[in-house]
Symmetry: C2
Subunit: 512 residues, 2 copies
């Protein structure tokens, strides 16, 4: 994992303390910070810049699928929420509730004005099925109105007791797609389309390999008939659920009265789906691609793909260095990469060049270009690729290149960095999934000594109390069921948990 | 205003009932609708598409000014909010307050769980000076950290008693810029930069002429030292405040402890600013550009700039019509306009072509192109410009053009529509500002019989009780002070309200 004898830029390595390392990447890379408001973070410019990139690229995929963006209310009246029993059970324990609409000084202390108490409390949306269902019930009349497909980019709130930046915060940012269909087949097709969109987005844009599959019934979204997820493996071997897609059956349609007249003139309930991804993905990117010097940001989602650091010496030569850098920035800005103009920053901040370099290393800018007087004289640039920071001797692997060569190859280099990050993560994922475990003792042993990774086992897909028993036993071992991979090999043996004939394969692992 | 003897697409004209007409544009144009949640609207795809365009173009201007996007918490602890006395006084009466974090069924009824009562209530942000100030106090140490300039795109909540879609809703979407500076001069410069950015954005992107000026002291943002606004004139002659920029002095910096060490090693409080624009601008666009057939959307912010409507007859010819339309769409998509690819939609929805045409008229698509079998045969298209829907004879002013000519001129035509909408609104604004009123009786008379428009008068810029008296008198006449235009002529006479020597000119009008 780490090269010996290198003093890394972070105060702690992955190997020493993965959790502390994660926090260090976030704080040293200026990604986010605690806000002083319980469970809520401040997303700083570099972290928010990554989110803007994710938004832009995911939004393009959502629009390409013909889904239209809308905006629905932040507040959900309790009565909307109560209509779907499983749904409300699943969320009631972690919701922010608005009860008053005014403050007043009472005994010199500002507090909710009792005279402003709401007749019906409002829930701050933890997810929007209920309020979007109400709108759909107005919009859907006939089979001609279906499928109805909408998405919103929004903040949601779930009152989490233990929070971790990006991974689990009380407030987070996400997109939620909501669709209504004439029948189960069409709704299930949309559920799988969204799942595949997320899988491909994770692999392509985030360079983050994932396993797409169905969640066991106990892990379904509250009120869903089926929940699918993409699961990514972090460098400590734990699983992160990075996106979900739900087939909701007709339960939410019945609760919100989303009905349509079919071609035969009969009233039918629509079948609905929902699917979402969030700022949690940024936590995944950090834990998949980060190293002991900070984040390594995949070029497709890096706010700046190339950062130019002029090496100034407070002497007359500086002007020529800056002019050379400006010219370089302009030429790079005209380069196209991943079908967009290359994003280049000339960093003019008045701090020392070495500090500047290390701040961009920690942030994970894919390419850092340093330019000093000698480079200007020789028509060169000094190029540092963030994906291979050190050479085998443990020295910074800066490469001196003719400026024009670097410009000509910049797009290729960025594509290569994107591909390298993906390939590295993909081999790690594949190397750390065991598929040879056939009994519970071996399953426990597979995780002994905090051995990283997942185990894919055959099971009989138990349900109800039988599944509860499996999960109870796994919990005792600090293990969880992740999903049943869509592309797993067929089951041929017996269920590792129940001894019955196995019907499919399921992934077991520790998780975030 | 209206052409006689035309049956317009909306059920009510501007002249007959401007307020009802406004609601009709919104509902018939599928822009937004009531949500069933008090004071909150659902923004539908066409309305949200306009907001996405506004976001994209405004965000580009904000980034070009070097301001970085961040994200700050939705919730503000009461203690943060209380620190700035004027600020809390200004907002305390209209805030949503979160008091519990869990629901529980009590006597069979779901309600806030008393055991989940928060020790400190949380306010849903009505604006973010306080929570961003807390972050700035962590980020600012030295004069080298200044100016610090951030922006966020977010939802905010102000508990409005009387709401109107887009213009005044309990929840709305906006951007809020927040900056900290070494001194008053630099902060005031930023305040004016943001104001000028808004003025130019309104004129250019929204084609909406505005008057930029300072708000009278009673109309300042709570806690501000100076507030500036852009004011647009709606077609009923009322004023809409469409953006504001505030110089906040050191009050917020003192409350949040935003201090820096200056070059001499002394601790100083920063001078801060804030500035914002919101979904309210969409209400302005409707009331400035709409006509009796619906919205006329300026091409720069239209989600689709050209909509192609194939005229199908359920016969074999349809295939050739659709192929011709697809080819047209492809060619238009390759056209650049306003430095972006032209946004073109081929509307394949299975509804009658005439209904389709009118739905796009009501939405305000700048150019609607109809294509039938005869057009295909002749290599033509039938073009309808939304800014001039009817000819002098009161017939739809569709123009048959050779397809290639239309494509070659499409960018120019869109630019001409943008310019025409601006020019129309600009002449209306100029024609409806009177500057010849010098006494209160004439001021009242100027508004008699609901005569539309504003009056710019000379005044002595009274303060405190004297200003209260002026505003009290104006309120009795249903009038308000809008702003003191930056580019007004100098005052030469006496104050229309107090008879003192006038120092500047101020705009008086009815308002939203």
């Amino acid at each position: 994992m780490s090269i010996p004898n290198i003093k890394h830029a972070l105060p702690v390595t992955r190997q020493k303390d993965f959790a502390a390392w994660y926090q260090a990447v976030i704080s040293e890379g200026d990604l986010a910070e605690e806000s002083g408001v319980r469970g809520c973070m401040v997303i700083r410019p570099w972290g928010y810049g990554i989110w803007e990139r994710i938004q832009k690229l995911m939004d393009a995929r959502i629009k390409a699928a013909g889904v239209e963006n809308c905006y629905f209310p932040l507040f959900i009246p309790l009565s909307f929420f109560e209509k779907e029993a499983d749904h409300v059970d699943g969320f009631a324990k972690e919701m922010a509730v608005v009860t008053h609409h005014r403050l007043k000084a009472i005994d010199g202390k500002l507090q909710p004005d009792p005279d402003s108490k709401l007749e019906e409390p409002l829930v701050v949306r933890p997810t929007s099925e209920t309020v979007i269902g109400q709108a759909m019930s107005r919009w859907v009349q006939s089979w001609r109105d279906l499928p109805l497909t909408v998405n919103q980019w929004a903040n949601v709130v779930r009152w989490e007791m233990r929070t971790r930046m990006f991974l689990r915060t009380s407030e987070f940012l996400w997109q939620e797609g909501h669709t209504a269909h004439v029948d189960e087949a069409d709704a299930r097709k949309e559920t799988m389309r969204a799942l595949e969109m997320y899988r491909d987005f994770a692999e392509t844009e985030l360079a983050m390999p994932v396993i797409a599959g169905e969640k066991p019934e106990n892990e379904r979204f509250p009120g869903a008939v089926a929940t699918y997820s993409i699961e990514a493996m972090m460098q400590d071997g734990k699983a992160l659920q990075a996106g979900t897609s739900h087939y909701l059956g007709t339960g939410f349609a019945e609760a919100a009265n989303i009905r349509y007249q079919d071609a035969e003139g009969q009233q039918q309930f629509a079948h609905t789906t929902s699917w979402g991804t969030s700022t949690r993905m940024i936590g995944g990117v950090i834990m998949v691609h980060g190293d002991d010097d900070g984040l390594r940001c995949p070029p497709m989602i890096a706010p700046w793909q190339v950062v130019i650091v002029p090496m100034l010496r407070d002497n007359p030569e500086d002007e020529a260095v800056l002019a050379y850098c400006a010219e370089l920035a302009k030429a790079l800005g005209d380069v196209d990469v991943f079908r967009e103009p290359l994003r280049v920053l000339l960093d003019r901040k008045p701090i020392k060049a070495a500090n500047k370099r290390w701040s961009w290393v920690k942030k994970g800018a894919p390419i850092i270009v340093e330019v000093g007087g000698r480079d200007v004289a020789g028509g060169n640039v000094s190029v540092l690729r963030r994906d291979r920071l050190y050479n085998d001797a443990g020295k910074l692997a800066s490469e001196i290149l003719p400026k024009d060569d670097f410009i000509a190859r910049a797009a290729e280099t960025l594509k290569d960095i994107q591909a390298t990050l993906h390939a590295d993560a993909k081999s790690r994922l594949e190397a750390n999934i065991r598929r040879d475990v056939t009994d519970k003792a071996a399953l426990v042993a597979a995780f002994e000594g905090d051995k990283p990774g997942w185990v894919e086992v055959e099971w009989a897909r138990p349900s109800g109390a039988a599944l509860d028993a499996v999960e109870e036993w796994l919990k005792g071992e600090k293990l969880t069921l992740r999903n049943t991979p869509l592309d797993a090999a067929p089951a041929t043996g017996t269920c590792i948990f129940t001894g019955e004939t196995a019907v499919e394969r399921v992934i077991v692992g520790r998780s975030y």
